[in-house]
């Protein structure tokens, strides 16, 4: 499966969050197996997936087409928000 990303992802995310690039498989997996979904701005969707190697949740933001990856990072507060 190829990977569609935005200029924002390639230009900034890949450099500011380099650890994310080792977890590309989880970004792909989030597209189909997200544990939680939320609306984001501009018709984008936030998808969350657990990354056991880091014991953290990854937030993956996809464009309205449902397949172009716009952003990805470890959400430090996801677990806390879900436990409320």
């Amino acid at each position: 499966m190829n990977f569609k990303t935005t200029e924002y992802f390639e230009t900034r995310v890949a450099h500011r969050h380099p650890e994310i690039m080792t977890y590309r498989c989880y970004i792909e997996k989030a597209l189909t197996d997200a544990v939680h979904e939320e609306d984001d701005v501009k018709g984008r969707t936030r998808l969350y997936i657990y990354v056991p190697e880091e014991d953290k949740y990854l937030r993956v933001i996809v464009l309205a087409d449902g397949e172009t990856i716009h952003n990805a990072f470890f959400d430090s507060h996801f677990r806390r928000r879900m436990n409320k």
């Binding site: 190829n2 990303t5 935005t6 690039m21 501009k42 172009t68 990072f73 959400d75």
Partner: protein, 146 residues
């Protein structure tokens, strides 16, 4: 400090240091993320829907601001994904990349020595052309039914 605006996705970012944001990110307010390094220091601010939240007229006048304006999606593959698409073995693609790198052409991008090789459309075209020009020495693909 580095300020970037991505007009295609309306994202404004302010990097307060060069340190990677490996400490995670938190929502500071709707559409505004704070990014931290591994020592929990604030290293970046990301603003979504920037033109709605910030007066971009002033921001765009900031000296040294970097404006990125592409709206086209960027297609990329891992070696495994490309091998699956071409129905060849992963090692066959890896060998081609190694041969190309040995001969000089830069192919693929790695964010670190242990990171996966990412192949962009230009890389895929270059690999395709290389394989057509160098049919010998590549492992033969397994014949169907054999």
């Amino acid at each position: 400090m580095k300020i970037q605006y991505f007009s295609g996705s309306d994202m404004l970012t302010i990097d307060l240091s060069d340190a990677p944001a490996t400490g995670g990110s938190v929502d500071a307010a709707e559409g505004i993320l704070f990014e931290y390094d591994d020592q929990d220091r604030l290293v970046g601010i990301e603003i979504s829907d920037a033109s709605e939240r910030v007066d971009m007229t002033d921001i765009k006048k900031t000296p040294d601001i970097i404006i990125n304006d592409s709206t086209e999606p960027i297609i990329s593959y891992t070696v495994t994904a490309l091998a699956e698409e071409w129905e060849v073995s992963t090692s066959s693609i890896q060998k081609t990349i190694q041969a190309m790198r040995k001969a000089g052409p830069e192919v693929g991008k790695q964010h670190g020595p242990t990171f996966p090789i990412i192949l962009y459309e230009g890389d895929v075209t270059a690999i395709e052309q290389w394989r057509e020009a160098h049919p010998q020495g590549r492992p033969k693909e397994k014949a169907v039914g054999s």
